[in-house]
Symmetry: C2
Subunit: 194 residues, 2 copies
Amino acid sequence: MTADERRASVIRAAMSEFARGGLHGTSTAAIAKRVGVSQPYLFRLFDDKKALFLATVDYCFTRLRDSFDRAVEGLEGAGAMHAMAHAYTDLLGTEPEFLRMQLQAYVASQDPEYQAPIRACWERLDEQVRVLSGAEGEELTDFFARGMLCNVIAALDLPRERYFSSMKAGAQHVDCARCAAEAAGPPGTSAESC
Amino acid sequence: MTADERRASVIRAAMSEFARGGLHGTSTAAIAKRVGVSQPYLFRLFDDKKALFLATVDYCFTRLRDSFDRAVEGLEGAGAMHAMAHAYTDLLGTEPEFLRMQLQAYVASQDPEYQAPIRACWERLDEQVRVLSGAEGEELTDFFARGMLCNVIAALDLPRERYFSSMKAGAQHVDCARCAAEAAGPPGTSAESC
DNA sequence: CAAAAGTTAGTGAGCAATAACTTAATATCT
DNA sequence: AGATATTAAGTTATTGCTCACTAACTTTTG
């Protein structure tokens, strides 16, 4: 396995661990064990723990932007915003690690040494959402706000229905077959309809 | 100083430290130093670090609920919701520690040993907001969602104006002198008008 | 004088990071 | 082609440090 391939697999393992324990609550030994490699070897692949953590944060946000890209293919304006919102809430069920990792990034950014690169990740995400959706002002605020609530729901393991499944049909997403189906039929049956 | 008074002052100091470094990124020595007491004495006042952290989380959420109580005095319904929203965003400027500490609580709750008590704090907050405002459904979701966005803004040190100051007058808070003044006059001049 | 408040000194465990060594693959030179 | 030099991938052993927590002792206060 080449060093680059190893680095990639280490980052994936690191996200699972960091998403749970955060920067200071995760040992490099735990990451090494998960990826099946000796602990000191991590320091051949990354300068130090900080570099590994930041690479993991970058990966997390990059994957997130990719998922937005895929979600809006062929859409624009309100439809695009809407598709991204669904893409994000879907992560709650499929890959909550991405949401938990984000929270870990935000708290780590309170250390001055981590702030700049992590803020840069946020700025890129913000910029991409603005470009893909064309939204601004309150609409954008609500998009990010709801996203952050998703993150907290994932961290606290709260029942998502309490804040998200109780959407009234048509109230938020007009002309959306999926929203309508979710409001009408039993929940879960139409998860892939959008 | 009595043990109870010490405990209270330790919790305040602990919040400053935990809000920055989180559960695992904060040493008991740092807390002891801030409060001006020897480090081992903390373990006479609290069983262990876990107990101290959870007491701090509890204090944080209790203070938050108190601030909601004060904000809604004499109000009800939409007016109460509105007042609580202002109370919360105001914390961004005055006491961001409370917002940062919350995020630290959420990430700590991913440890099974911490989840139950921290979730209980969230449930109490949720319940109180429902009772004080009478809101439900999307309105409640948006309230909490925007609150969580505030937390992230505090953690990342983002400019709050990007997501909150650009409220169009009357768009969100109808019949609010403060909202109108903020939209019309220079920002900051009307911060205490509500 | 007795109980409560508080201290100093110490312990064992866990951690990030270094150094030195080993194995496997790849290119180089007769 | 086959022996040899070279680079890349990976390991074991170790170190110095930080940290939560304990035990035993001292000081203050009613």
